[in-house]
């Protein structure tokens, strides 16, 4: 792991990787959206509103995956003092919050025609909203430090504690009776017809690559700011 501890080595890999992830992700996302919107059949009960799934599900998974990434990076930061761990955790926060928000908004739009309501306070919807608020808290906390590149330990601890919400979101529809239906895609298989499942996985791949590109961009920006700050400090001292 410490092979990548050197920011210069990381940048050598991240620099060509960023546009590759971005363009591949953009192509897959656009393809999945066009496929999902125009070339999938209407659903037996929901009709055309089923097509929101191609944005809603990838956004939900990435919102949850983002915090899982923050938690893992935070542990690596605290235990191994890996210099890039904190930077990567901070870089995940804004894209993660964005995807959690997309999940909540598309879910609300989907809920109105299918369930008959924009919002209910059931276990799934509430725990997902809590995830969004945790992201906001994490962003505020990690920006609270005056040092630009500083990766505070308070934020890392918060990132680990907040991870307890991730299994709660996942289990919410199993533990508690909820308005939201149970999981369609589990390790055991899927109850989504392949007509929807295949473009859905293309969308998940596309959105994930875009997410990765965004995180790399933000990490590179953070490292550049750290270098500027270090240089300024040296200039001020001399």
């Amino acid at each position: 792991m410490h092979r990548f501890a050197n920011p210069a080595r990381f940048l050598r890999i991240a620099r060509p990787l960023t546009p590759a992830l971005f363009w591949l992700g953009l192509i897959l996302t656009l393809a999945a959206c066009i496929w999902g919107l125009f070339f999938t059949p209407t659903e037996r009960l929901m009709g055309d509103t089923v097509k929101i799934i191609f944005v809603h599900v990838p956004a939900a998974w990435l919102g949850m995956g983002g915090w899982t990434g923050i938690a893992i990076a935070s542990i690596v930061q605290l235990v191994w003092r890996h210099p890039l761990a904190g930077v990567s955790a901070r870089a995940i926060a804004v894209p993660g919050a964005t995807f959690a928000a997309i999940c909540l908004i598309t879910g609300s739009i989907w809920g109105r025609p299918t369930w008959g309501t924009w919002w209910v306070w059931d276990g799934r919807l509430t725990s997902m909203l809590v995830l969004f608020f945790l992201y906001l808290g994490y962003i505020a906390l990690s920006n609270a430090s005056s040092n630009k590149g500083d990766t505070s330990r308070v934020a890392a601890v918060f990132g680990i504690i907040g991870a307890i919400n991730i299994p709660i979101i996942n289990r919410s529809v199993i533990w508690w009776e909820s308005q939201h239906q149970k999981a369609s895609i589990t390790l055991g298989g899927s109850s989504i017809d392949s007509a929807y499942l295949v473009p859905l996985f293309v969308a998940v791949a596309g959105f994930s690559l875009l997410f990765g590109a965004l995180v790399l961009m933000r990490m590179r920006a953070a490292l550049a700011e750290m270098r500027i700050e270090a240089r300024m400090r040296r200039m001020a001292e001399s």
Partner: protein, 149 residues
Amino acid sequence: MKPKHQRLLLAIIAVAALVGAGLIAASALREEASYFYTPTTLVAANVEPGKAIRLGGMVQKGSIVRGGDGVSITFTVRDQRRSQKVAYRGITPDLFGEGSGVVADGRLGPDRVFVADSLLAKHDENYVPRELADIDMSAAAKTKDTLVP
């Protein structure tokens, strides 16, 4: 012990404690955090008539009776063990129908009939194209939903 290993041990203990606390809290919330009563939990909770509650379950096949005024409707909500009669006046959601899931806001009447103020449809986790739905209704039978009788 190297400081790195000390921190690792501390992190493992902290995460384990956190997961334990989360699981204990979640299991304590088991009943309270449910969004609605099913007919079975409704009986177990012994809710008095007139108290605002939420009831959910599957609409029993053949139970929907529409009134002559066009807006009154009665039907039976089922879970795996029990059923509960529901009366409602108003427009039903598009996805409402026999065999589909429903969540109703309302209260128990003195005659033990649940009087609903509002109805929400509950979709199951199966996604089936319309042209396949006639051929393959087995998907609905495979639902993991515990509400299915």
